[in-house]
């Protein structure tokens, strides 16, 4: 594929029509890894709470690149490619741990906590024979290092030294929406991985798509956690790539009949919970916002659904597969009552979530539905053709925003 191939070009300059070959073209996928994930973007890699002490590390990915994230002897968080400079084997085979240094299992080359090559087994050979040439410079060899940035306890990494600061990358409004949720030290409550049978972009679009939330997810609609007739809106960053959508409960919505009048499946009057303690929530941020979904381009989600908090990391795993890495969390100073409330509300999200279960399969439905439609286009026209912030969620502005940023990085 190339942008110059007429069969593989965007239909026109507008963002309202998205060709399906973008999810199906292997060469385009390889270009995405290079220009987006390894380009001047920021990828979430872990929580600062995961690396409390010097030597604490986690392994993760930026795109498909394996990455080690470590709190160094200097107390600073470093990130480098999890690839030995010698023959390319993984340096660390653990998900997390604490280390004084790292040693590749293959030939025992050693690295410090910042990813500098510090030791080579039999560097001088044995009995005066073999070994590395005296001219070999350890300083000139090492895994690629990434820039790191911490934003309210979230650790981001970028392979591109020219990337803007994380604050400039996100813009003031989105930074404010991150700060709104992450005001206190985090405590991790659990982690799960959800393997999805679709291209990574289909999931990112789904998260940005405020239009579908109360239509696909009957649980949301019926219990008025979020409905398009409720108050709220959507913020889209100026470059289009990042967004935050939010819902505010409004008394006048309780009698709204818009869903029933349109015969929408997700409105089911007969559905009541036997144990409504699941929905017993408190306004812990003091602003009446019941739900906030925030994305950072290309693949990060910060979620507040009532008191149910999580971060999600979107990791591409080939053209037709991805993993969603969920980290559920609360705050270190949560009361026992608040912790129980969060554990109950976590039923809403994740692979078995009352409201997010469908998001696990709908990307696969698109992949299968559009399998033969590479030259056709999908329609992204709700709310017009712009990418501006709006006081409604009956819009696809943030999905168009994603494509605006995507096209800029890709050069489409």
């Amino acid at each position: 594929m190339s942008a110059s191939d007429p069969a593989r070009a965007w239909p026109d300059a507008a963002l309202t029509r998205v060709p399906y070959w973008l999810y199906q073209d292997e060469a385009n996928y390889r270009t995405e890894l290079r220009r987006i994930f390894e380009g001047p973007t920021w990828s979430f890699v872990c929580l600062e709470a995961d690396l409390q002490h010097r030597g604490d590390f986690r392994t993760t990915f930026v795109g498909e690149m394996p990455v080690l994230v470590v709190r160094g002897e200097d107390g600073v968080i470093h990130a480098f490619e999890n690839r030995c400079a010698h023959r390319g084997a993984l340096i660390s085979l653990d998900d997390q741990g604490t280390a004084k240094h790292f040693q590749c299992v293959y030939h025992a080359w050693t690295y410090d906590l910042q990813g500098n090559l510090t030791g080579i087994a039999f560097e001088k050979g044995s009995h005066g024979r073999g070994g590395m040439p005296p001219s070999f410079s350890k300083a000139a060899h090492g895994p690629r290092k990434l820039e790191t940035a911490i934003l309210h306890g979230l650790v981001f990494a970028s392979l591109c030294p020219d990337a803007p600061s994380i604050e400039a990358y996100l813009g003031e409004e989105i930074v404010g929406r991150v700060a709104r949720v992450l005001r206190r030290p985090i405590r991790v409550l659990g982690r799960f991985v959800q393997a999805l049978p679709n291209n990574w972009k289909l999931y990112v679009e789904n998260v940005k798509d405020t239009y579908h939330a109360s239509l696909l997810h009957a649980f949301f609609g019926t219990f008025r956690i979020t409905r398009l007739t409720q108050g709220g809106g959507i913020l889209v960053s100026p470059d289009g790539g990042h967004h935050a959508s939010y819902t505010i409960d409004r008394a006048d919505d309780r009698s709204s009949t818009a869903y029933r009048e349109q015969g929408i499946r997700s409105e089911r009057q007969d559905y009541r919970l036997a144990d409504p303690s699941l929905l017993d929530s408190v306004d812990e941020f003091g602003d009446g916002i019941q739900l906030q979904i925030l994305t950072v381009f290309p693949g990060f989600v910060l979620q507040q659904i009532q008191n149910c908090l999580a971060v999600r990391q979107v990791l591409p795993k080939g053209l037709d597969a991805m993993e969603l890495h969920w980290t559920y969390f609360g705050f270190a100073d949560d009361t026992a009552e608040m912790r129980t409330r969060r554990l109950r509300q976590l039923n809403l999200v994740g692979p078995a979530g009352y409201v997010s279960m469908e998001d696990g399969c709908v990307g696969g439905f698109v992949s299968r539905g559009a399998a033969a439609a590479g030259d056709e286009v999908s329609v992204v026209n709700m709310g017009g053709d712009g990418t501006e912030s709006a006081e409604t969620r009956a819009t696809e502005a943030s999905v168009r925003g994603f494509w605006k940023a995507y096209r800029r990085y890709m050069g489409h």
């Binding site: 659990g190 991985v193 019926t222 994740g350 692979p351 078995a352 279960m357 696990g360």
Partner: protein
């Protein structure tokens, strides 16, 4: 002690698996005590003492709600499970409960005929005698893997 009778425990586990695999989900809550806890987690989370579950029900009402949501609200492709439940190890008797561990394996069969090994793990149970029957006061489902394919709709 009567609740620790291995044949009664085996029958409870067999009946539980059959109810789910036969799509009699409405019967699923009846295997639990009035006061109960059901969660699904991973071996990693369990080892690290992380409390969150993929499903988390700390009342019988929540079990009924899970079934109601699957029947009335949630969208997922038609699928069934086949549980293979292994031999139960009886570990302890405490607080009038019998503590047991039972390994399981679940194959998921999708509507297009695809069959996959969907989950393996162990049930960590606390069993009690209630109204003349053996019930789960706690059933902690510890999956060996933290990775779930697509979605987890039907309980394990």
């Amino acid at each position: 002690m009567e609740p620790a009778d291995p044949s009664r425990i085996a029958k409870l586990n067999a009946d539980y698996a059959r109810a789910i695999d036969d799509d009699r989900l409405e019967d699923w809550p009846t295997f639990f005590a009035e006061s109960c806890l059901y969660t699904i987690t991973s071996a990693d989370n369990h080892r690290q003492g992380l409390p969150a579950g993929l499903m988390y029900a700390d009342s019988k009402g929540m079990l009924h709600d899970r079934v109601a949501a699957l029947r009335k609200a949630n969208i997922y492709e038609r699928q069934t499970y086949r549980h293979l439940v292994g031999l139960t190890a009886i570990l302890d008797e405490k607080d009038s409960s019998t503590i047991t561990e039972t390994p399981f394996l679940v194959v998921r069969i999708m509507r297009d005929g695809r069959m996959d090994l969907f989950a393996t793990g162990r049930y960590l149970d606390a069993l009690v005698e209630e109204a003349g029957a053996l019930k789960f006061r706690e059933r902690l489902v510890v999956c060996d893997s933290s990775r779930i394919d697509t979605l987890l709709a039907i309980p394990l």
